[in-house]
């Protein structure tokens, strides 16, 4: 059959009645638009999260008492475990053949002040000298916290770029003084700017020597240990070593489970993928519902069209159209309808995604797969819901169709 003619008829009908067409296609438009917007958003986030996690080095893992916890019971249970200490970190650093460095760190929130300026809820980290090496956090200006600072319990700090800017503006922060909580500290360095993630700045931190942190917040806290393996290949061995060292040191009997948790970037990534996958499925489900509704509307309009054009069907049959010719014609019309809806939905969804990307800190990525998904699903709707009207059209008896008024 003449595909061009059928597509032409469908487009003509769409143009002839714009309001009806819009209403007809609304379901498909909304369905495809939401698919595109959500897929773009989730894929953008995926890419972003992957970049973030691999940026800090894919051969870094961390160990703490809790790991990734979702429920209160587990949280309480793990809270009863023995605390991890900086000695544990030191043991891993000392005995792990595949471990390049291991550091303990503690975290708290504090207000940072300088003269009349103040910044609330800044992350304060008590870190050991190798912290910046392990976490691949280059110093932007000045120097990192060193052995001497640790040993001498020097009241010094490294500021995140954002904190430095807020406190010192255009002045050079190195050598200046800030008040972290209630303690006055000398700034020795500024971290390199990392930018923001999901709208939250990653440069809002203050690093202080571990010993100073303990002095400020007390000693009885379980530390988080960051471990860097010697290379990508030895990542798993480094984990095994750390596990063995900690088990021995904490007297965990063979057969008993670890009393600490190792968290790798992959685990976080998997967690994220599960989460985004769940969001994805929910939204795809919702979109599928609107696609089905849109398909039913298209089926309805095609049935009306078949009835309206009974006589045309009769004429075509008299002139030699076979059943399959008529069927194909109406099917192509239905597909054209839904594909036009799909294209509009695509444009709308892409537009929504772009606007979201511009107005919010959410990263957005309109992928070719998303575009293909939108177009294929809308065309499938056309085929599925256009089939019945097309079969009905093809089944018309030519004599009765010609007589139809």
């Amino acid at each position: 059959m003449n595909v061009r003619e059928s597509v032409g008829i469908a487009l003509q009908a769409l143009r002839a009645n714009k309001l009806r067409s819009t209403l007809t296609l609304l379901g498909v438009i909304i369905g495809v638009a939401s698919v595109i917007a959500v897929v773009s958003l989730v894929q953008g986030l995926n890419q972003y999260v992957t970049n973030q996690l691999t940026a800090s080095g894919s051969n870094v893992f961390s160990i703490d008492k809790y790991g990734i916890v979702f429920d209160n019971d587990t949280f309480r249970e793990r809270g009863k475990r023995r605390d991890l200490s900086s000695e544990d970190a030191a043991a891993i650093a000392r005995s792990g053949a595949h471990v390049e460095a291991a550091v303990a760190q503690l975290t708290a929130g504090a207000t940072v002040r300088r003269r009349s300026r103040s910044l609330q809820r800044v992350t304060v980290r008590g870190v050991e000298p190798d912290y910046m090496l392990v976490n691949d956090l280059p110093i932007g200006h000045g120097r990192p916290i060193g052995e001497a600072d640790e040993r001498g319990r020097a009241a010094v700090c490294v500021l995140g770029a954002e904190v430095a800017e807020q406190m010192f503006q255009s002045l050079d922060p190195v050598g200046g003084e800030v008040r972290v909580g209630s303690l006055k500290m000398v700034v020795v360095g500024v971290g390199e700017r990392k930018g923001s993630a999901f709208g939250a700045s990653q440069d809002l931190y203050v690093l202080v020597p571990f010993s100073i942190f303990e002095q400020m917040y007390g000693r009885n806290r379980s530390v988080e240990i960051n471990v860097r393996s010697r290379g990508q290949e030895s990542f798993n061995q480094a984990q095994d070593e750390a596990r063995a060292i900690l088990r021995a040191k904490r007297h965990v009997r063979p057969g008993e489970p670890d009393d600490f948790e190792i968290v790798t970037p992959d685990m976080v990534l998997d967690l994220w993928k599960n989460l985004s996958g769940a969001i994805f499925i929910v939204i795809i489900g919702v979109s599928a519902i609107s696609l089905v509704v849109g398909g039913i509307v298209i089926m309805n309009i095609m049935l009306v069209s078949v009835t309206e054009r009974t006589r045309e069907i009769g004429v075509r049959k008299a002139l030699g159209a076979r059943r399959r010719d008529i069927r194909t014609q109406f099917l192509i019309e239905a597909i054209t309808l839904s594909a036009v809806g799909g294209l509009i939905g695509l444009a709308l969804g892409g537009f929504i995604a772009l606007v979201l990307g511009l107005l919010t800190p959410l990263p957005v990525y309109v992928s070719p797969e998303a575009v293909a998904l939108g177009l294929v699903s809308s065309s499938l709707v056309g085929i599925f819901f256009g089939a019945y009207p097309a079969v009905r059209a093809a089944r018309q008896d030519p004599i009765e169709a010609l007589r139809y008024e």
Binding site: E5, L319, L402
Partner: protein, 233 residues
Amino acid sequence: MLIHMRDLHRVYELGAEKVHALAGVDLDIERNEYVAIMGPSGSGKSTLMNIIGCLDTPTRGSYVLKEQEIGTLSDDELARIRNQEIGFVFQTFNLLARADALHNVELPLVYAGIRHEERRRRAREALELVGLGDRMKHRPNELSGGQRQRVAIARALVNKPSIILADEPTGNLDTATGEDIMASFERIWQQGNTVILVTHEADIAKHAHRAVRMRDGRIESDVRTPITTAARP
């Protein structure tokens, strides 16, 4: 022999009642005849026309068109015969309202599977033949009744069928235009085509050279009028 019908029956079942629309029709039509099928409504002439046109098949009896038995063909085979052998001209023209004259004439060639350029060329030729060379891009609603029927005639001719089958072709036209259309059929016949005219108007039927009268599902009379030698091609 183009058409060969023997003991043709067509029975419709309307609920419990059986209607004998055709009750034993024998009819032979040669190539290049100009036949009028006449009769009052209910005489069975429409049913006969539908069967000749392969839109319908007989309940019983034999209809052989160009050496082929029609009664046993499938829907798709009937469609192919309609496409290749029959050129319909209807009382109400039955043009596609949304398509221009050229496209309307092209339609049978679309279903014949002929390529685009060839279709265009042949449709143009057919329209020029009926004197509508300057109306190709007009839609039916931009044409007069007579012009519409000429588009329909061009459409009937375009695939070079064996039979031009016209059902009350002047029924929706005024007398003068009707005469015009009848003159077209005369020309078509002179060019060697077989024309079958279905009508209840004696004035129209007299243009033909043979009048088959139907009554109660049977042929009541079959009269040949002598053809003037001048009219013969």
